[in-house]
Amino acid sequence: MITSVVTLFGRRLLAAVPILLVVSALLFCVLRVLPVDPAAMSLPPTATIAEVEAKRRDMGLDQPLPRQYLIWLRDALHGDFGSSIQFRRGAGSLVADTLPATIELAICAMVAATILGFGGGLLLFRVRGSVFEFITDMASILLLSIPEFLWGLILLFVFGVLLHVLPFTGRLAPGLSQPHITGFLLLDSLLAGRADIFISAWQHLILPAAALGLAFSPAIMRVLRSSLFEAYHEDYIEQARLRGLSEGRILLGHALKNAALPTLTLAGVQFGFLFSGTLLVEVIYSYPGMGNLMVDAVRNADLPLIQTVGLTYCIVVLLINTVVDSLYVLLNPKLRVR
């Protein structure tokens, strides 16, 4: 079993290489076609035209586009993603500094989305045929129609401003100093043995994670409900009833196991979208992750940084998809036969 999972994982990783190359080439071309001159942007405003030309040559921008891409690719393979125009620091190190915060947020949001999605899906299924079906159905459609940034604003207003029970700026309360170990603040606070930091970090994560989770949970809810409907048409459900099992045990012990598989696939796909969704939520909550960095980079036409962040998003999404596919094989015996 493990062998087939590992094989699939390896195959998927190999398949990701050409995808990454295509995405990086596309990104590179699109950014070079934009009416922005990275050479001019990387110099102070007082630079002369001659200085800009010299810089352009220095950056290899006078070379044909394919050659420029190959130079970039060669450097990228050596870990050099270029220097950020805005920060005048390596774009790779900027991404490395901010990626843990985004991953932490995305994981918490995914957990929230999964809990809400599975809970909501079970509720939707349980109230089928009752007077509550219409209400819950409408509620799930309403949830589906609210995007993550709107959830962000609603939650900020209700829990941050109105009720004043949760913080909504940054990752930590002003009086606390962040332990710099892995960049994952929850983990770092545990490693440092600091309960106060852990609690503060957790408080700061709740609203952005909930905003993302609420936006991505309705799809999980609705797919789970549909999968449960399908599962209930299978013979083993009727057999379970004949064996005298309670409806609750049939739902949780038998139907849910089978209905969870397609839902898991969807959750994996959703995780990719959710990761991209961190962009606006991070800005709203002043959360210092990669999304915030991307917004900065776009605002300042910081092409090397846009390229690096864009590529990182692509790598993360491909990795997530690979892991989800492998998990699917791990959980579904039918797929292991081949």
């Binding site: 005048r88 043995g193 852990f198 609690i199 210092p288």
Partner: protein, 509 residues
Amino acid sequence: MAWKLPRRTFLQLVLGTAGAGAFGPIASAEGRDAVTIGWPNDIPSWDPNQRFTPDAQPIFKAVFDQPIDQDPSLKLVPHLLKQWDLAADGLTMAVELRDDVTFHNGDKMTTEDFRYTFLERIKAGVKLDTANSWKKVEDIVVKSPTRATMKFSSPAPTAPQWMAFLGSFIVPKQYIETQGLDNFLKKPIGTGPYKLADYELNSRIVLERNDAYWGPKPKIARVTIQIVKDPSARVAAIQSGQVDCTVNVPVREVERFGKEADFAAELNPITRVILLQVRNDLAFADENVRLAAHHAIDKTALSKAFYGGAAVPLAAVATPGTPAYLSDFQFPYDPKLAAQYLAKSNYSADNPVKIGFAATNGQFPSDYDIARAIVQMWKKVGIEANLEVIEYAKYFELNRAAKLPEATLYSWDNATGDPEIFGGYLLNPKMPFSAWKDMAVGQKVLDLFSVADYDKRIAGYRDLNRFAVESGATMPLLQSVLTMIRRKDLAYTKYANGWVLPQSMHWSA
């Protein structure tokens, strides 16, 4: 080494999270010995010489010191320099440094650090914006640990002003040379009133009082600068008590907070001008069209509509209180006169002249709205403007490539208030700020750049400011305002250039 989580700590974490942790009372702005400031932008780097970013200036001023400082009315005052003497020809400047200044690591600050900052690291090719502002520096002759003479390749009449302006912060030579630039960027040290205690990119800057500071000690021991980029989030943060003060919030919020008992809300006019940068070619080659475009703009209406009337309408590129401000000069809003100018060139509301117009959206408060209002004002007199949005970062590149349209809505910050950095830079055809390349105005500017006598220089700029507006080479609109909301019991020193300095803050009794 195996790491083990103590059971007690683990239990604390779990219980804390499950219970009070999640929805407990939130840690809002700190106590009376601390302040939390909601700030719109992070610093670009911890090398204060590296990038010219006006927003970062107050943060740098907390950690680093400048050779010369400015008082709240913008007058130059001694700081790290006890005195300076710019020669009559502007080619040398003798300086004397204080001898009681130490960096945060205890190293003494001397003229070697001064020479390193303004000459050596520039010549060494480090990528610094100061390489441009101090490119005239040929040498700095060190005479003693406190005395040196700067030598310039051509007259540098604004050298003292630049000592108090963007990027001019003294950095520690020995520390950077021994620790390396990367380590300096990670753990920067200056001679300023605060030490950097903690920094998280795009999130927050934590400063702790430098108890060994040579100057007046800050009253507040700990300052947290929370980076909150979204204006609405900054408003929510001050409303909920998560920050004690914040800046650059929408004008309507200032009006709302002004009615609340616990807050003070301010619209402070600062040394920033909002103007139209214009070209001297395309449809604007015609002076009649340029003057018509300027006379057609109702600046008072713009101020009332977008800045609650607090932004002062300007007739010249200088703000009230600065040396080259022309209090007796007016450029009236007169749509009839505008129509007459257009008629001279055979244009009218029925036969409008077509021009391009660029503006940023979100770079400064209400920028795009102001541009749209101007388009409507122009339309009434016979100017049809095609408005396009550009990113602020692209202005210089478009200007270099002569791709800007006839007019561009622009905001220009000049913390010194010196006229060279207002009209001088904005109209100098050799500099990338100016869209105007005609030499009738341009030569006047270039000549002024080498006038070392202060009074003569200021008089020259006053004439230039008037001439440039009357010939349609620039269209100043408004003095910009800095919006600020703070807790009423948090006092600070108000600077005419909009600096909000943590070291000037204190809690009132």
